[in-house]
């Protein structure tokens, strides 16, 4: 009896350990480190939600986490104006502009393409929830390499303790705290800024810290 159990036990132990190990899979930053961008051009986000306010609400809060993570971020409203003066009136047209052209006009190291997937309120009988979900992709402007991509979501109905841990998580916490005290009026703006902080701050599986951050090169 005992002889039967021992190999079984060992096998299970191996399986359990292997199970733990696979969850530790981390993001491959080889292309990011090779590119080592100093500046990021944020294009007006694509809107895949039914709310017309989604793109520009998200754009207004996209700069903060990127700049606080150590990057130069191009002035988003002025950039949008430059596109409009050249006849590109909406985000889907702007996302079609070639990297070569963007490089020539802005001289950015990397370009960030954002898509807002979910935006705004849904109501049920006992409560209302505001939820914002977005995805993003960072491209090297010269090579077209994908440096990083990710997605994030936030909701004003979620539990506060559900936040990222560790030292790099502090930046996200700081941003969220600042946002919560600043944006009182529009729930979708407040939730957007939390989504933006989660999506675009240097963090586990997020972007790396940029050259203007004291944390640059440490993570």
């Amino acid at each position: 009896m005992r002889n039967y159990l021992k190999p079984l036990f060992l096998m299970m132990l191996v399986l359990i350990l292997a199970g733990c190990a696979t969850t530790q899979k981390s993001y491959d930053y080889a292309a990011f480190k090779r590119s080592n961008p100093k500046s990021i051009l944020v294009l007006p986000p694509l809107n895949n939600s039914p709310d017309v306010k989604a793109s520009y609400t998200f754009l207004s809060v996209a700069t903060y986490p990127l700049a606080e993570s150590g990057y130069y971020v191009f002035p988003v409203a002025l950039v949008d104006q430059s596109f409009k003066e050249n006849g590109l009136m909406n985000p889907s047209e702007i996302h079609q502009v070639s990297l070569k052209k963007l490089d020539e006009i802005f001289g950015a190291d990397a370009v960030l393409y954002i898509a807002v997937e979910k935006f705004g309120s849904s109501y049920n009988i006992i409560s209302s929830e505001s939820r914002v979900t977005a995805s993003a992709k960072l491209l090297d402007v010269k090579t077209g390499d994908v440096l990083w991509e990710g997605n994030a979501t936030a909701s004003d109905a979620e539990n506060e303790s559900n936040s990222q841990g560790g030292l790099v998580g502090l930046l996200v916490k700081a941003i969220v705290k600042q946002i919560m005290s600043n944006f009182g009026t529009d729930p979708s703006l407040r939730v957007s800024s939390v989504t933006s902080a989660r999506l675009l701050s240097a963090n586990k599986n997020g972007i790396l810290f940029g050259p203007r951050s004291p944390q640059y090169g440490k993570y």
Binding site: Y56, A67, Y72
Partner: protein, 117 residues
């Protein structure tokens, strides 16, 4: 013994707060984000002159405390000055953005040329 106990009681919350508090931000943001939000979602809320006044006021505060305004702040001010016909100030703000953030040089030079034309 009692003294050290009191000390510990006083110090413990400090330590806990210390852990909870996040590192200082790199920049002081003032109204920058809110203004961009309003520009698109509530354009009638305040005229450009008022937005300029608020951004300039915040800038003076930030400067007097030896801190920095974020990337794009001066370029955004330039955008507002240009809207109100104040071309000299618009050019000045683009130069300031470029001086603080050389990463913006290509774009700032392009805008400067565009205005001067």
């Amino acid at each position: 013994m009692k003294k050290s106990y009191t000390l510990a009681v006083v110090l413990l919350p400090c330590l806990l707060i210390g852990c909870a508090s996040a590192p200082p931000t790199l920049y002081q943001w003032g109204d920058y984000q809110e203004q961009i939000y309003n520009m698109y979602n509530d354009p009638g809320k305040s005229p450009p002159e008022e937005q300029i006044a608020k951004l300039e006021e915040d800038y003076q505060k930030v400067r007097s405390s030896n801190k920095q305004v974020p990337p794009g702040y001066h370029a955004h001010l330039s955008f507002l000055y240009f809207k109100t016909g104040k071309v000299d100030q618009a050019l000045q703000e683009l130069e300031t953005e470029k001086a603080i953030f050389p990463e913006s040089t290509v774009y700032m030079n392009r805008l400067i040329q565009q205005i001067k034309k």
